[in-house]
């Protein structure tokens, strides 16, 4: 229970507090009752997280709400106990912008500042005093505002439109960043946060629209908010597998045309995938986080509302979710097939017999340890980095190999053949351009020092 009290003079030595309101919650953190000092008290009844009815404490119906199928806070209509109907008109971010009667006439309009401070207006646009507003409750992003406090109830915590911040820490903690009070990732114009568990990642919707396949066009607003991280993961998987698939197409004859990029169901995995899969393959690949084919069900549930049970989802969203899961599975299988076709990247290159000469820039202390032990890097654990040909100039070497400091000595060494990976490019890091190539190995690497070059 939360009690909110008000005092006229907080600086007084013994301020006189007046109780304003009490809120009561159930175990799911849903607000089930509001007690005002002047009745009637209100009891809230929910379907999932959607408040579908308000009743008085004695059980008499006050009003009912109807929601759309595409978003948790997609309000459609309100029916008062007397039978009168009003309709909510929402913008693309589910802000209630107008209220209409059942004959379609607008009876009230709402304007918002970016973080949700509302201004009430007559149907013709003239400002209306807040106390005379017809709808003081369901406003910014379709969320419930408490007129007595001016705060929005974002289901898991309260939000102050004036501050543009939540008043409690993010229950999901650091999911969206270090600021636990941040709202909509500071992007309230296009971001939303229907559960108060952290704003959706800006641009996820745009990312989805860029993906191939008609399915993406059908992805509803439901995907943002609590499930956005999951979706990003799906998008990354799709992108990653598409790259692998591109590589695979260069290796195997392209017939028949692949359908992976258009979200093919499992039954339509291209026949050119040259591998047989065991049940264990599927079990492990379908959805590693939850494991196996049960992941498909998880996918379906996530596609709908992250916290609703399966029987509350529409057939359409379940079907789409399963299709997404199957697509993910198909792509993972394709990736496995490709992985079986070619050697793992970065692994042993060249002849395992004989020896080869490599170079490494290092410190004098490291050189000493190498000389003493006869092992690269003095036998220390970790990954050994060498290059086939390092620049003689330490500054140039620092740039090409993107080192965080200027190295001291360049050492040319003979190492066993087949120990080091094939060369791979060094990216930009430590503000150095990179562009050189390095090879890696782990474990003890015996070395014979051929030449030490100290600039």
């Amino acid at each position: 229970m939360i009690q909110i009290k008000h005092t006229a003079d907080i600086t007084a030595q013994t301020p006189t507090w007046t109780e304003v309101v009490r809120y009561f919650y159930d175990g799911l953190n849903q607000r089930v009752k509001k007690e005002l000092t002047s009745p009637p008290d209100t009891i809230y009844l929910y379907d999932g997280w959607q408040c579908i009815e308000e009743r008085e404490a004695d059980g008499d119906l006050l009003r009912q709400y109807v929601y759309g199928a595409h978003y948790l806070d997609e309000l459609v209509a309100k029916r008062e106990s007397g039978g009168s109907l009003t309709f909510y008109l929402q913008d693309s971010n589910y802000n209630v912008v107008a209220l209409a009667e059942d004959d379609g006439d607008v009876i009230e309009r709402y304007c918002y500042e970016p973080y949700g401070t509302v201004t009430f207006a007559e149907e013709d646009g003239d400002e209306r005093a807040a106390e005379n507003a017809l709808n003081k409750v369901l406003l910014f992003q379709g969320q419930r505002r408490d007129p007595e406090t001016g705060l929005y109830y974002f289901k898991n915590r309260y939000y102050s439109a004036e501050l543009g911040r939540f008043l409690q820490r993010d229950p999901a903690e650091y999911k969206d960043g270090m600021d636990l009070y941040l709202a909509m990732l500071s992007n309230p114009l296009s971001g939303s946060d229907e559960l108060g568990l952290g704003g959706d990642q800006p641009g996820v919707w745009e990312i989805l629209k860029q993906l191939p396949g008609a399915l993406v066009e059908e992805v509803p607003k439901t995907v943002v908010g609590g499930t956005s991280v999951w979706l990003q993961r799906q998008v990354q998987t799709v992108r990653a597998v598409q790259k692998v698939q591109d590589a695979a197409e260069k290796m195997v004859p392209k017939s028949p045309p692949t359908k992976l990029a258009t979200f093919a169901p499992l039954s339509e995995i291209p026949t050119h995938v040259p591998a047989k899969f065991t049940y264990e393959d599927v079990q492990g690949l379908a959805y590693p986080a939850t494991g196996g084919l049960s992941g498909l069900l998880d996918t379906a549930v996530n596609y709908g509302y992250g916290n609703r049970s399966l029987n509350e989802l529409s057939n359409e969203s379940v079907a789409t979710g399963i299709q997404l899961g199957l697509t993910s599975l198909a792509m993972r299988l394709a990736k496995l097939a490709v992985a079986r076709l070619r050697p793992a990247p970065g692994k042993v290159a060249g002849d395992a017999q004989g020896s080869e000469v490599v170079q490494r820039w290092m410190s004098k202390d490291e050189l000493r340890a190498t000389q003493e032990t006869g092992l690269l890097r003095g036998g220390r654990q970790g990954t050994h980095y060498v290059t086939d040909a390092a620049s003689k100039d330490p500054l140039r070497a620092r740039q090409r190999l993107a080192l965080d400091r200027i190295p001291e000595v360049r050492v040319k060494m003979e190492v066993p053949g087949g120990k080091f990976s094939s060369p791979t490019k060094v990216p930009t890091k430590y503000k150095m351009p990179g562009g050189g190539t390095e090879r890696t190995a782990t474990g003890n690497v015996p070395v014979r020092i051929i030449e030490v070059d100290e600039p």
């Binding site: 990003q232 965080d404 890091k429 503000k431």
Partner: protein
Amino acid sequence: MKYLEDMLVEITVSDPWEWGTEVGVTPLSAKILRWRIGEDYRPTEILLSLLKTVMYKGVECRFFVGTPALEREHLEDIARGLAVECALTQIPEDRARSSDPFDLSWWRGGIGLTCTIRAKLV
């Protein structure tokens, strides 16, 4: 749903070689606090916090920004249980707690580590 956030990882430092002399060769435990997505929808940077602060060259090291050390490496492989070669840049705590801890435009040299990161089994 979480991806890399809050993942506990183990860091084995390869370079600089002197790190092993001064700090020790035991792998360090750390937590991934944040990650940033790149244009190809892959994580490009991670923000790490060591579970135990260490001192190196007189600098208190706790927060690091990590990027792949080689072009073949991908940070999302950490979530798949694979070892990933990373380049870590040490950043001070106020930078780590800023709105954009991945911004290293201020960096003019300091502690950089080359290391192997893998998910820690608990």
